[in-house]
């Protein structure tokens, strides 16, 4: 079940944000009818696919959650472990997302503006988290930061616990959601071009001033979109966090882990409720960005 909740989280952002392409109106009647039929066909297939894979399962979860009224939902939401996992998820996201935002923007600048050897390789490396299974990421982190890992001794003597604790979960979450900001920012950065930055430079701006006043505002929608995707991915992360956290109830259980835990213990109401909360969080992220985008875009018409 947790996997479908995760699906709802990571797929909806794209559908919600990218504006639909409208085909230009065509000329004669027959062509137009054929074009309309084609459009209708394409739309039905797309919607049908979406309904089958996404809408139906998500709707099912909502239905099952509220099947027996609000009282069981309320007690599931207020259960101490549920509460703890909710706040823990937010904590992990609140650390991992800003880290990845700064890293992603920096990486995008490096890849798009920099001139150095091995740039192509770096571009591939950034995408690696997309290609590697999160479980493998989790295992790899344990191998490096765990008790028997490379830094294990050093971390232990300095009293820092990474694996089975929040730092490890943040690391795991950061790794799996690493590429989003850079990948969304690079094309926007390319489109912005270097002219306006150079204009700022000739007007006396330092590199720092040019970045804050010209580059960053110019790429902000790409960054925002990347942050939304990162947040959604981070909220839903299961595999990597599942390994590094040790899944200690009431301690290192994030929301997706909690969903899994409830499901395995035959507490379907608990599982469904947590899944709904997860979906609502993702929805809130999306909605917040949409409102923000619409509000600012109208003003600057950029």
């Amino acid at each position: 079940m947790s996997s479908s909740a995760q699906g709802a989280v990571s797929i909806t952002p794209g559908a919600g944000i990218r504006p639909a392409q409208r085909a230009p109106a065509s000329g004669s009647g027959r062509d137009e009818r054929a074009a309309r039929a084609r459009r209708l066909g394409v739309r039905s297939v797309a919607l049908g696919y979406l309904a089958l894979l996404l809408l139906a399962p998500v709707a099912m979860i909502f239905y099952r959650t509220f099947e027996h009224g609000l009282a069981p939902v309320w007690s599931a939401v207020t259960a101490p472990n549920a509460q703890h996992s909710f706040w823990l998820s937010l904590e992990v996201v609140a650390i991992a997302v800003p880290l990845n935002t700064v890293f992603g923007v920096g990486m995008a600048l490096l890849l798009e503006r920099g001139r150095f050897r091995g740039k192509g390789l770096l571009g591939v490396l950034i995408d690696l988290p997309f290609a590697i299974s999160p479980v493998v990421v989790g295992l790899a982190l344990v191998l490096v930061y765990g008790k028997t890992g490379w830094f294990g001794d050093w971390l232990a003597t300095n009293g820092i616990q990474v694996i089975f604790s929040v730092p490890g979960m943040v690391l795991a979450t950061a790794v799996v959601s690493l590429p989003f900001v850079a990948r969304e920012t690079i094309p926007v950065l390319r489109e912005l071009g270097t002219d306006s930055e150079q204009a700022a430079e000739t007007l006396g701006a330092s590199a720092w001033q040019a970045f804050w006043r010209v580059t960053l505002p110019g790429i902000r929608w790409g960054v925002v979109y990347g942050v939304v995707l990162t947040t959604a991915r981070a909220l839903g992360e299961f595999g990597a966090v599942s390994i590094v956290s040790g899944r200690i109830e009431g301690q290192t259980q994030t929301l997706p882990l909690y969903v899994q835990d409830r499901f395995e213990n035959f507490d379907s109401t608990g599982a469904y409720t947590a899944a709904v909360v997860l979906a609502l969080l993702a929805l809130a992220t999306l909605l917040a960005m949409n409102l923000l985008t619409r509000h600012t875009r109208k003003r600057t018409a950029a």
């Binding site: 306006s196 150079q198 430079e201 000739t202 007007l203 330092s206 110019g218 950029a302």
Partner: protein
């Protein structure tokens, strides 16, 4: 401030953009860098601005060697070909940018911006955003933005390139008058010889990374030193190695039997100017430029055979 460029070389990979370029722009002059695309004119402008670094050579502005100083310290105003507006800022904030990064007091900035918007005739549009302006307005905003920091030198890259013909003509005239008003040393890049002749006091003709000739528009037109300048500046007929200006070809009244025999293949009326395409008796094609009045008096018609007098053609040793 005068600009001096000394022995500048610039390569991009195997491509030689500038090959030992030396030039001088006088204090307060209005100069055009003229040449076909790929001639290195934009690269030269960007090197003067500090947006590119020369491989060798020097750039001197106002007697000071600025070759190794950053663009932001050169006191240069640069207007980009596509204006490079800050799209997320209002017209006011665009123009104010240079002053606000210098942390000038707010009321001083407001006053200066107002004055500049008046100068470029954009008063009342201060709160607009670049996406709400026309090409000509964007161009003038970019100019006001560059002038806000009182540059010693104003550089414009193809300033009228992206505008339609009518706006172009207006802006040319306006740039000329603006230059008379503020008298800042100005260099602009263009591939349009007519534009260069109309606006500039001095033209530097570039080709394949080298300077072919520099001088006043009239000087270049009347005494080109090589065939590139001859054929790039003003209309030209080429007969083998020889060059003729179309307006130097004299069409004689039919009664006169002297001169070379020619067949009129086509007469094109371009308003005041009439273009007459001729085939000479030896088969060579040339065209002559006459006024509307001359064409009427000579009763030029297609298919007519008459005689023309050709001036001594110019031949350049290569």
């Amino acid at each position: 401030m005068a600009i001096e460029v000394r022995n500048v070389d610039k390569r991009f990979g195997d491509f030689v953009a500038l090959d030992d370029v030396t030039m001088t722009v006088g204090d307060g002059a209005l100069t055009a860098l003229l040449g076909p695309s790929g001639s290195g004119k934009s690269t030269l402008l960007r090197i003067i601005a500090g947006l590119e670094t020369p491989d060798s050579g020097q750039v001197v502005i106002g007697g000071e060697d600025v070759t190794s100083s950053a663009a932001r310290t050169r006191g240069v105003g640069f207007v980009f070909q596509h204006y490079a507006p800050f799209k997320h800022m209002s017209v006011h904030d665009n123009v104010a940018f240079g002053l606000s990064v210098r942390k000038r007091p707010k009321d001083e900035i407001a006053e200066r911006v107002k004055e500049l918007l008046g100068l470029v005739r954009l008063d009342g549009l201060a709160e607009r955003y670049p996406s709400q302006l026309s090409g000509g307005q964007l161009q003038r905003m970019a100019l006001a933005r560059a002038l806000a920091v009182q540059p010693q030198v104003l550089l414009l890259d193809e300033p009228f390139g992206a505008l339609d013909a009518q706006v172009r003509a207006e802006l040319r005239e306006w740039l000329r008058r603006l230059h008379e008003e503020i008298h800042v040393t100005t260099v602009f890049v263009t591939h349009d010889q007519e534009e260069a002749m109309e606006v500039a006091e001095q033209i530097v003709v570039m080709n394949k990374g080298r300077i072919e000739q520099a001088g006043s528009p009239r000087h270049l037109y009347e005494s080109p030193t090589n065939e590139f300048v001859m054929s790039f500046i003003g209309p030209v007929n080429r007969i083998g190695d020889a060059f003729l200006r179309p307006h130097d070809i004299q069409i004689l009244p039919e009664s006169d039997g002297t001169g070379t025999e020619a067949l009129i293949e086509r007469v094109v009326h371009l308003g005041f100017e009439v273009r007459v395409e001729l085939k000479l008796h030896d088969g060579r094609d040339v065209w002559a430029q006459v006024t509307r009045e001359e064409a009427r008096q000579l009763e030029l018609t297609e298919g007519q055979i008459l005689s023309v007098r050709l001036p001594a053609p110019r031949v350049f040793s290569s």
